[in-house]
């Protein structure tokens, strides 16, 4: 947490007005001791073309982009990496498609070879219809990868207890789903996300289920440190425009969280004073 979350938004003059733009203002995301200027992580899955990817990445302001490994004939696309390199983003390989700890650990090792990074988004899927994480395999894989020196960002359910177990294992970030991958259903259990945020000391990244900008803002308002999304942007009618919407939503949600919202009340509380009310 920054000491004065508003400080980055103030103008040079002491006590000056607040200014927009978290990224310019310096409220960075820190994971495993490394800082990122943006609190939006972007997945590349579902992107219709490289030109769209380029524009969406730039509009999103992201500094961390996920990629996958697949058989070379089926999907070789050196041009995609060239685009991402030009955008200046860091690559975060994932273990998408893995269903067991063994597969995920091997995939992470292969990703380390291919990308030259020991950072990995650990994903171990337990059900083909919902693509929900398999908690048992996930925890097993996380333990193995942490022991091998990987920096593990674990895609998980919104279960605060599992989140804590992953953090205790040494994961660098815990990434709970809002709802199933690609569903666009938003955050189905905000209470669980807030509880998970309280349960761990590592960064919490809301990952999966985001459909539109208000979902991303809600994630940040609930206390998440960042949001990871792919389909919401790549499959939007206008990905570049949605990427900008997500960037602004994440920034707005972060500001609202650090601003301290008013409590919810059952009844109204007048904002205009009663004193001096004339008798008419």
């Amino acid at each position: 947490m920054v000491k004065d979350p508003l400080a980055p938004h103030r103008s040079q003059a002491r006590g000056g007005p607040l200014q927009g733009g978290l990224q310019e203002a310096g409220d960075p995301l820190t994971i495993a001791g490394e800082t990122f200027p943006s609190r939006l992580l972007l997945g590349t899955g579902g992107v219709p073309s490289l030109e769209v990817l380029d524009r969406a990445v730039r509009a999103s302001g992201t500094a961390l982009v996920t990629v996958a490994l697949r058989r070379v004939e089926a999907s070789t696309n050196g041009a995609m990496l060239e685009v991402l390199d030009r955008c200046g983003v860091r690559l975060l390989p994932n273990t998408a498609g893995c269903r067991t700890a063994r597969e995920a650990v091997l995939t992470a090792r292969l990703a380390r070879e291919a990308f030259g990074t020991d950072w990995v988004k650990l994903e171990v899927i337990g059900d083909e219809h919902t693509l929900l994480p398999d908690a048992v395999e996930l925890l097993d894989a996380a333990e193995q990868l942490v022991a091998e020196g990987f920096t593990v960002l674990a895609y998980t359910t919104d279960d605060p207890v599992l989140g804590r177990r992953l953090a205790d294992t040494g994961c660098a970030a815990v990434m709970p789903l809002g709802s199933p991958i690609g569903s666009g259903l938003g955050i189905r259990n905000p209470h669980s996300i807030a509880l998970l945020r309280e349960a761990v000391d590592v960064p919490v990244v809301l990952d999966a289920g985001i459909g539109t900008a208000s979902d991303a803002a809600l994630a940040m308002e609930l206390g998440c440190d960042a949001v990871l999304l792919a389909s919401a942007v790549t499959r939007a009618r206008d990905p570049e425009r949605m990427a900008l919407a997500m960037r602004q939503a994440v920034e707005a949600g972060r500001l609202a969280r650090t601003a301290g919202r008013i409590p919810r009340r059952w009844h109204a509380e007048a904002s205009t004073p009663m004193a001096g009310l004339p008798e008419l």
């Binding site: 997945g43 058989r71 070379v72 050196g78 291919a114 990308f115 991958i181």
Partner: protein, 68 residues
């Protein structure tokens, strides 16, 4: 004389003495960010030139792609 192996799920015959480096050169199109698994284990890049493929080997040659 050829070596029967499985590469990315397809049976194929390689020239005798073919190494992982040879296979990568043939399959990757000059791609530099490639990883290779052989019989369920990673073959480190540094070992590609010295790793000869054996009959029955199951090899996966992987490259980056778009993904969540």
């Amino acid at each position: 004389m050829t070596v029967p192996v499985t590469v990315n799920g397809a049976a194929t015959d390689l020239a005798a003495g073919a190494t992982v480096a040879d296979l990568v050169a043939a399959r990757s199109g000059g791609h530099d960010r490639v990883a290779v698994a052989r019989n369920g284990d990673v073959v480190p890049r540094s070992s590609w030139p010295s790793t000869s493929l054996q009959p029955g080997d199951v090899v996966e040659v992987l490259a980056p792609t778009a993904g969540g």
